[in-house]
Symmetry: C2
Subunit: 385 residues, 2 copies
């Protein structure tokens, strides 16, 4: 019998409890023994809730119980999620989380503690919701030298951009729709300012290259300034405007960035719409593979948590190996030389791909770091990938 505790009975924690209840026979068949939920840590009142008897208020109750071998951190936020994860690992318990903030900020330390204690710290649900991505990167792509990982990592912003394009509505109107549909928070900053995507691309870069960049060192742009004209320019260039997190490695070094980009129609990320996520991994042997699915949501995310629980209960041993990236390991991917689609209030000596309202859109090859110098009157500029 494998006994687990869930920290936080919110959306993800509740989903994990549901899946363990609904799919218990299937899970027992996979694991070879039953998996039982023993505790839920939550400070709210669950009087009358079917799981009321499992609720405890003190993390020490869980830490002191030797029967509990797996702790699910589904609290969200940095504290006390990080602190409780650390304590659980130090107490010799495996920890599973969907908390990308904690993984991106403290993942190097927590993996190190897990290694010392001979337990595991797994976070399949931290990127891409239910999409299997962490484990495939560690296992299936293990024989590859990965040169790029790149994705649409945030469903809320992808929904907003899809609604703007299809409905011809502004960012503000599309954001309101996303909030009304429950896809965006009342304070949407983590999504629309690229903060969530930034945490996720840091985790993916850590898996791909073995060094985990600190999110605060990464240049992350969001989508607040995206206009309908920008979307029309993208279409004129045969592209889709998407918020993309991207990390690359070559002989020239490593780059990382989060920014709205013009994704070319030939790139499989271009067709990913609504709340879906897609993650493209480029390896030296396998070429491009892409993973696609619902990037968020109660059951998809909880499904990924449960896959980690099953992996631990089966006695698996796969683990991420990374260290905190030394300062300067990554440069800003937006600074590199690339094709950019730029819009100017004047004509250049080349054919514009679109002109309207006195504004002219061109495709130019330029170092991103030189954009403002070369085109001081630039109205909009998007890297083309």
């Amino acid at each position: 019998m494998v006994k687990i505790a869930i920290l936080g009975l919110g959306v993800v924690g509740g989903g994990v409890a549901d899946i363990i209840a609904d799919n218990c026979k299937l899970i027992e068949a996979q694991v070879g023994q039953p998996v039982e939920l023993k505790y839920i840590l939550d400070i709210r009142d669950f009087t009358g809730h079917p799981l009321e008897k499992l609720v405890v208020r003190d993390i020490d109750t869980i830490l002191a119980d030797d029967e509990v071998s797996i702790v699910i951190e589904a609290m969200g936020g940095a504290h006390p999620a990080y602190d409780f994860s650390l304590k659980a690992l130090q107490a010799g318990k495996n920890v599973v989380t969907s908390n990308k903030l904690v993984v991106a900020e403290f993942g190097a330390e927590l993996l190190e503690v897990a290694k010392e204690k001979g337990v595991r710290y797994l976070f399949e649900a931290s990127v891409g919701g239910g999409i299997p991505i962490i484990r495939p990167m560690l296992e299936s792509l293990a024989g590859n030298d990965i040169c790029e990982v790149c994705g649409i990592l945030n469903g809320t912003t992808n929904y907003i951009l899809t609604r703007m394009k299809r409905g011809g509505i502004t960012f503000d109107a599309a954001l309101k729709e996303a909030q009304d549909a429950g896809y965006a928070e009342r304070d949407p900053s983590a999504d629309v300012d690229g903060i969530d995507s930034c945490r996720k691309i840091c985790i993916l870069a850590g898996l791909a290259f073995g060094i985990l960049p600190a999110p605060e060192t990464v240049s992350a742009k969001g989508i607040r300034s995206v206009t309908l004209r920008d979307l029309a320019d993208a279409e004129a260039a045969g592209c889709s405007l998407k918020l993309v997190g991207r990390a690359c490695s070559s002989d020239e070094g490593k780059t990382i960035s989060v920014a709205p980009c013009f994704v070319k129609g030939t790139n499989p990320l271009a067709g990913i719409e609504d709340v879906y996520n897609g993650i493209l991994v480029r390896g030296n042997a396998l070429g491009d593979v892409m993973f696609y699915g619902m990037g968020a949501g109660k059951l998809p995310t909880a499904s990924a948590v449960v896959s980690d629980i099953i992996d631990i209960a089966r006695g698996g041993s796969m683990t991420a190996h990374w260290t905190a990236a030394p300062e300067g390991s990554f440069t800003d991917g937006e600074d590199a030389v690339s094709e950019y689609c730029i819009r100017l209030p004047r004509k250049l000596d080349q054919a514009a791909i679109k002109e309207a309202d006195g504004e002219y859109t061109y495709i130019v090859e330029v170092a991103g770091s030189m954009l403002a110098k070369n085109y001081p009157d630039v109205i909009a500029a998007y890297k083309m990938i």
Copy 2:
């Protein structure tokens, strides 16, 4: 030191040898010890080849060498690939293969022998080339009740259909292009008649539902009869014509089929073109996830083989659990009630989605098994998914 033997230094076997040589440091870091190629079994003459010294002619040399813990079967065909795989497992060696024919025909027996001998039989490369699909289905989707697995599983036919559509050329002309480009064999039957896709959907059904259907019991249609008019009808219906392998499970039972289908534009499989493959998995908790990439090719396929080698060398334990499906476990998915797009030489009492040259295309809801009875003059019929 992990020592391996490769049976057959063809495209895949050669690719495995290349990756092990090119990525040896990376692989050693992943495994914790070096992985060394000790033998190559091949009856051809390799005089002057850089790996000449490793070539042996007799499988018993490999079976008798206790240093060899992993045997890579990359011979193709049923015999002696099956026989050598069986002998290797019986000799207590782990076996890794890319041979979908052997996995689909003999996989239940070989997995059983592996289990008895305490070794592993892995076949990540048998479906989807380099796309991670076998391991994600076993691990990442483990907590899900999978209700459907469905995919574009053959790159050659997808290339032919893409060329027909884009180039406005016939099947025969597109097949010739595919042969000239090296994507199709001189005898293209295994690809264009759906035999290859059939083996792959059997393997995926085995993983999804725990019972492995015998390929010869599955109704498999190919793409030889697809016409440009069919492709135009698909477009008029907002669909893409694709060769799809599909296995479903519901309260009514399990179905399996391989057939050209009209894939609706909202289905993420619709946009998969050229030699790419895509596999869609639908689980009760996670919803839809799709895996996309090059479905064939030397290095992508070899990359999947190497991921299995690394998994074994690391001491992993994941394995498929399936038994041979009892007769009648699956019915023909093409027989079920579904939307069909049909073309007739006469008008029906509803609006046609396309009419030209005295032929009328309609969308109707009908049991596939009743199509010929209800529409005895049907010219073409494609299930819509």
